[in-house]
Structures are given as C-alpha cells and as structure tokens.
Symmetry: none
Amino acid sequence: MSLVTLYNACQVCGDQSSGKHYGVSCCDGCSCFFKRSVRKGSHYACIAVKGNCVVDKARRNWCPSCRFQRCLAVGMNIAAVQEERGPRSQQAQSSQRLLAQTPPAPPSPPAPTVHFQILAQILVTCLRQAKLNEQFRLVARAQQDAILQVVWSECFILRASHWSLDISAMIESCGDMQLKFMLSEAQQLRADLMELNFLETLILCRKELALNADYALILETYSNGALCSLARYTLHRSHWLRFGQLLLGLRQLSLQRYDCALSCMFRNVVRDILKTL
Amino acid sequence: MSLVTLYNACQVCGDQSSGKHYGVSCCDGCSCFFKRSVRKGSHYACIAVKGNCVVDKARRNWCPSCRFQRCLAVGMNIAAVQEERGPRSQQAQSSQRLLAQTPPAPPSPPAPTVHFQILAQILVTCLRQAKLNEQFRLVARAQQDAILQVVWSECFILRASHWSLDISAMIESCGDMQLKFMLSEAQQLRADLMELNFLETLILCRKELALNADYALILETYSNGALCSLARYTLHRSHWLRFGQLLLGLRQLSLQRYDCALSCMFRNVVRDILKTL
DNA sequence: CTCGGTCATGGTTCAAG
DNA sequence: CTTGAACCATGACCGAG
Ligand SMILES: [Zn+2]
Ligand SMILES: [Zn+2]
Ligand SMILES: [Zn+2]
Ligand SMILES: [Zn+2]
C-alpha cells in the first residue's frame, strides 16, 4: 500500500474512492450502502454485539451496523440523501430536493483571471522543472505522475517562494492568507539554486509515494543521494545547522488544509497539465 | 439441442443456467456448490477413484470431487468467492430509532469504546510528555496550548509508533487505513529514546506556530538546539545520513487529510484534555 | 462532479433430500 | 449433514442536471 492510494481511499472502508458522496470521500459501495440504509430507515444491530467490527474492503459486509456507524463517524450527511424518485421512465419530480443539498461546498475563489493565468504558468514551469530533475527524470512516467499529483503544491511553494521575479502582487490578489504566509515562510529559507535542486529531489523522491516495492527502493536511493549531496554542499559553504534547517523547512511546504485557494484553483488541472508534459 | 439451450446451459452440469457466476455461466446449484466448497476448503476424494465421473444434471451430486474439478476446469474463479457475511436475522426496526440515534454533524466517540479509551489514554500520555519536554516546558502555557492544538497528532504518531506495548490490534480496530499506514511508516524510523526526544522538540518548537515575534525567537533557539543535539548524537552513533533521514521522517507524521479517523476521534477533545494538564 | 436508478451477480435462508 | 430455489444486498455502471 502507498500514500498515493490512500489519497484516493474511501474514508469508510479504504477501498478506492469514487469521489465525494454525502460530504465524504468514499467508494461506490459505501455511498450506495449509506443511501439505502437511510432510505429504508433500518436500524441495524451489531453482529458481534460489541460494536467494534473491522470495516475494510474485504469485511465491510460482515456487519452493516458497524459499517453504518463508521459512515456517520467520518461525517456522512444523512440530510444529503434525497427522497426516492420513481423509475427513470417517469418524470415525477419533487420540490423537496432543495432541502437536501449537501452543505459543505468550499467557496471557489474569484481570483482575477490574469493572475490565475500567471500562477498557472508558474505551476506548469514547476512541473516541467520537476520532470527534468536530475534524479526524478530517471523514474518511470507512471510513477512520476502519481507522485506529482500529490506533491505538486510543495514543488510550487518551493519554487515560487524563490522565484526570480516579484510575484507578491499576484499572491496578494489571491486573497489567500495561508498561501501568502507559506510563501513568506519559505522565502526565509533563502536557498540558493543548488540547495533548491536538492530539496526538490527530496520532495519528489519520497519512498512512501512508491507504487510498488521496486520503485520504493529506487526512490529511497535517490533520496539518500540527495541527502548526502546536500549535506556535503551545505557543510562546505556554511554551518551544518544549515543542513538541518533546510530539511525542517520542507515541513512548511505542505498544504495544511485541503481547501486553500491554491488547492482549489489547481488540484483539478494538475492531472491535465501532466498529460501534456 | 438448440443454440439457445446451449447458451443458457450450465457449463458444469448442463442444467438451465441462471446467469454468470464466478466468471462462468452456470446453474444455481453449481454456483452454490462452488461457493460452499471454496469456503469450507474441502478436499473431496472421487467416489469412483478414477476421477472421471459424469457430471450432468441427474448425476452431479454423485461425486462432489468430480463436480468441483469440473467447476475449475470450466474456469470458475476461486477469488470471486467473497468473505462470509454476518447473519441477516435481527435487523429492520423503526425509522424513528435511526434518526434518534444519529449523532449530529461532529460525531462524538464512535463505536469501539474500549479501544477509543486506550487510544485516548495514549494521547493524554503524549500530551503530558510533550509538556514535560526539556525545551517545550519552558514555553509559556498559552503558547504551549496553541502549538499542541496543531501538532498533537504528530506527537501522537511519533510516540504511538514507538510505543513499548503492541497496540496494533487497537489500530486495526479503528479501521483507518491511513492511520495504520502512517504508524507503520513511522515505525520504520526505529528511533531510540534520545532521538525520539529530539524529534519531539523539533515538532513542538516550530517557529511558524509562534503567537508573536518574541516566542518565534525562543522557539527557533530551542529548535536549533535540538538540531545540534540530534546531529551530535546521530553522528556519534552512526552516520550523517541517519540525521537527514530522521528529519525527513518528520514529514510523514503530519496527517495528510483532515478527515481521517484519528482526527475525527480526537480533534474536538484535544482542547479539553489540554485544560486538564 | 455528485446526485439518482438499474440489474447482474454477489450473499443468505431453510424446506427437502 | 448437503442441496438448491427463493429471496435479499451489493456495487459497477450509466444518465441527468
Ligand atoms: Zn467504502
Ligand atoms: Zn458490528
Ligand atoms: Zn450446474
Ligand atoms: Zn468422481
């Protein structure tokens, strides 16, 4: 198992998710199960009485009670299940649907289109640069794309915070405090070009994102190589405290919340960008 | 015999087929027989020893061994037999109960109460330990609490993954794939007690979480101190690489998604726990 | 993109053998 | 016991807005 699959995991059973359903990222099975359970209004009793049955892909059908409890525990919204409609042939519609829309819709940011375009350009440049990374370029394309779909934002923050031109006005206009804060924090690393390249390798070659054990080994080798190079380089030019600070700085690059402006703007287009590279 | 009959014929015994089962068009009887045989793992012996008994509608029950062999011969897929499900008996009750038992949007402790309690105990221990951390204990309480409300989960993952007792059963019962994965990844750090303490300091003393500039300076000092200590310690006992790997390991500790089980369970009670410490 | 419904194919049940 | 006809549940798939 890898983090890549976990990103698309059903929050109820861990199976492959098919998107958000009733407010929660989950699989078709759990979505359908939740709908039927709410519709029928059936109250299950735990098979094992204790109410702590394991709910995973293989065993999710063992105990409907515990599966339903888990649906609720991860936040699936009963109110979002609509009234049963007739067969598809008939066109009977009810007005009750308005009551049952799922509430948590992250507001899409009205960023000025020009600035959006420029940020998108920066993102494309970052992704292109990543694919040219000295180590990462040697990784198979499928593995590359799987990784980039997770870490694209870290590459973006790293490179954008050290962009040669001043892009602060653009960031300002996005109105996202978190993005602004993260970029300014990352700027304080004041990494030079060599350091940036090593850090990029460390972002890209995370063995937890490997699709299988073979890739994991390769990625770990690259990561260790970048660690050694970075250590030698920083030790040569300054103090080795610098080495540790740069590595700690990597923590600041990951988006803390899923619904920041950057994520909202670009998470859905990253896949499309990757196809063109 | 007509084509229609052939098409609808059980490929095992020639009886009327009821659709595809386990990848093969076959009758209810053969389908059921195959499932039971696989589930029980029964190894039949041919009644006639020779293993070439006729399997047709009339004689299919004569020799289970030859019937099962024929199931396999026509390509029935053992992997398509699912895990057994719980009994279907006592379930449907009134719909009033469902709505009555429904916890509102933030679902308080989910079902497995015993394991929840133990995990909560571990969390409390982690938080208490954090407050006793050599550097962090010197920070003002308000700043401490502000930081812990963000990084509590990282402390938890770090300590729980290196817990002295085996807590894997408890983690398993949570049914959260991400939590399980993160703990197993963190375990691979195999940090000793000293390393754990330094890493804890690095988690707790993040200057980005400072409430003001003064605290930021203090936290940075502590963080740098822990970096130095950790560097000296690892360099003394092993290799530079180890130092870098431990720092990179810190990345794995942060919850990637806001709605994993750990977060659902505890994010609302962390504040209350902190009040009591 | 996430609602809805559909239906082939999983599952269990239980009288009959 | 095992069998299999009858019935229930599941989830991959598709259309609508
Ligand atoms: Zn699921
Ligand atoms: Zn149960
Ligand atoms: Zn048959
Ligand atoms: Zn035989």
